[in-house]
Symmetry: C2
Subunit: 411 residues, 2 copies
Amino acid sequence: MSIDFQVGATSGTARLGRLITPHGEVQTPVFMPVGTLASIKGVPQDMVEKLGAEIILANTYHLYLRPGIEQVRKLGGLHRFMSWNRAILTDSGGFQVFSLTELRKLTEEGVSFRSHLDGSTHFLTPETATAAQIGLGSDILMAFDECTEYPAESARTRSSMELTLRWAERSKKYFEEHKHEVPWSSNHMVTATFGCPSERSRQNAGPTEAELCSAGRMRAPAPTSDGMTQALFGIVQGGMDPALRRESAERTIEIGFSGYAIGGLSVGEPRRVTREIVEATVEHLPFNKPRYLMGVGKPEEIVEYANLGIDMMDCVLPTRAARHGLLFTSEGKISIKQARYAGDETPLDPNCGCRVCARYSRAYLRHLYASKEVLAQVLNTIHNLSFYLDTLRAVRHSIELGNRSQFLSGK
Amino acid sequence: MSIDFQVGATSGTARLGRLITPHGEVQTPVFMPVGTLASIKGVPQDMVEKLGAEIILANTYHLYLRPGIEQVRKLGGLHRFMSWNRAILTDSGGFQVFSLTELRKLTEEGVSFRSHLDGSTHFLTPETATAAQIGLGSDILMAFDECTEYPAESARTRSSMELTLRWAERSKKYFEEHKHEVPWSSNHMVTATFGCPSERSRQNAGPTEAELCSAGRMRAPAPTSDGMTQALFGIVQGGMDPALRRESAERTIEIGFSGYAIGGLSVGEPRRVTREIVEATVEHLPFNKPRYLMGVGKPEEIVEYANLGIDMMDCVLPTRAARHGLLFTSEGKISIKQARYAGDETPLDPNCGCRVCARYSRAYLRHLYASKEVLAQVLNTIHNLSFYLDTLRAVRHSIELGNRSQFLSGK
């Protein structure tokens, strides 16, 4: 078994689910913080745990370049390397190749590109991208796809979608033949055991256990679910054309994956279009498989997409915005650099219970940002992630109660 | 009463002491982490608490420029501003004026200088430096002094020492006349109370209480010792001349302070000379007052100075070195950027119990540093501070047992 997914309750199109992965359970709808280089920028792992994150995303492209897949594999995989014993999803690297690199060359076989770091040449294919994710040992891998640009002509969108479908088949074939090579599989040496009780019962555990846990010597997380394997998700493309989206969904489902992602959105199109395409795609996805909307979005948007039946989302927005002093609060967005906060003794968000809002004033956060103190990034990121995770917690609670979630914001 | 200091045990010239401040008790000999701009760079306050730091140092010069003394004063003082309810010592700003600024002009009255940030002109005197520290509301203030450069001619050293003595008198006079103006004094509004039990019993409290504490809404630390005031320390100068050091000590003691610092060391002289001057000065300082050696040093040096009878030390070394990937361990110094650590699964220091060594491998720390991840600075700083604070903990334990402390290091 790779992953298990159960829908526990629905409210309209929204679903409350439980995703069981080799590294723990994930309550859905879920927002996955982005840890590009095996780190949620600036935030120690125990704090990410305390925020309640049950799954994070790491970027294959970046880890492929630094420290390199083979290095991570030799060190037991990503979980062990970064000391994160909860679930990890990796992207295929394709999106970064298309958005970060120059001198790309796309062929049927794959895409050659130059590293954005040192200009060195690399070649990524469905097979190598899948091999990389097996080497990283993430719980959920993404098939290698082409993210169709926006806007795109109809013929271009179709041919891109067809390529993604052929690549999906190749990704799946490689995955099925090689998934036993995951560094934490029973075929591979893992001697250490991860004995922290709070890892299993963290839903109920107070900070006490988490604290005791992180104080202990537990540097070597090991797989907790014997015999579980990684899971591969397929990606639906098709641009902004509902008919192509439907076709892409149906043919991707035909290939058969453990979950289905909607790619190629949030690439510049109006939000109205995003919503339409999500709606037009979701209805063709199987009920009993997780649905992952890639690369979204603002807080109000993730609530909206959860209401449309999306189970998983990720976005760099909360972490990246934090680094620029943009903070999400229940009263609207705050740009903490503004001089108006210099004497403001109130917490960032009076309705937030995160450790930043519990302890620090806007005046202090403004001072840290204005003084370029590193602690500004640390605290801002903790708050923004807390806001996102709390938002999803509220969404799940609403679904449980049978209500439609609404994002309430003062601005 | 300002502070209270009691020597509980001695071992040779070393002393085990308890320093009671308006913001809690400090076990001495103590190392004070440096929080230049009201932040230990990169480390959230609750983590600094968990490291066991009972007192930190903040820099008046930097806070004077950003966010400004009046701003901090209006916000209730440094403790409340940065949400740090343990003791704080502030320097007078003099050292930074002499080391960071250009176009200084020194007169009997004080020193005019240009900000290293924007070139704006400022004037610092014993009175304004003391007023600034009263506005910041630190527990311990330093008299405004001139840090004599090294090397210096005998006549220059004497005249500099004489100036420091005259400035010490003026600092004290201003302090006595204005100390009631501290933002947390009973004359000033402080309505919030700081009720976290672990603040009072943190020596015995496990992470549990600290965690519960930091999770609560305690943004407004207030003075815990009613009626206590700030304490002013005098600074002994006199260059590398034991006779001048003796004269400076005696005449500073004559003015009368709550504690005595040794300034003007670690300014480029050989370590042998530092040690000689510390020894030659300490013997002229009163037994029942805290002795503070400013701006030192390496781990092995702080052990040595504690053995000579020094009670308090501070240095940017552990925090600054951390930012450059230089890490102190029981097995010697490690430059984590080196490629040899890329595949090293062992903890940074196998004999360290800090949260970094308990959780992360050298390989991961090397990756973070090589990838310029902000988490590198956060984790490296936590470890280096932990190493320093543990070193002092061992020193205190040795004194308690009547042993002479030795710094044991593999390199």
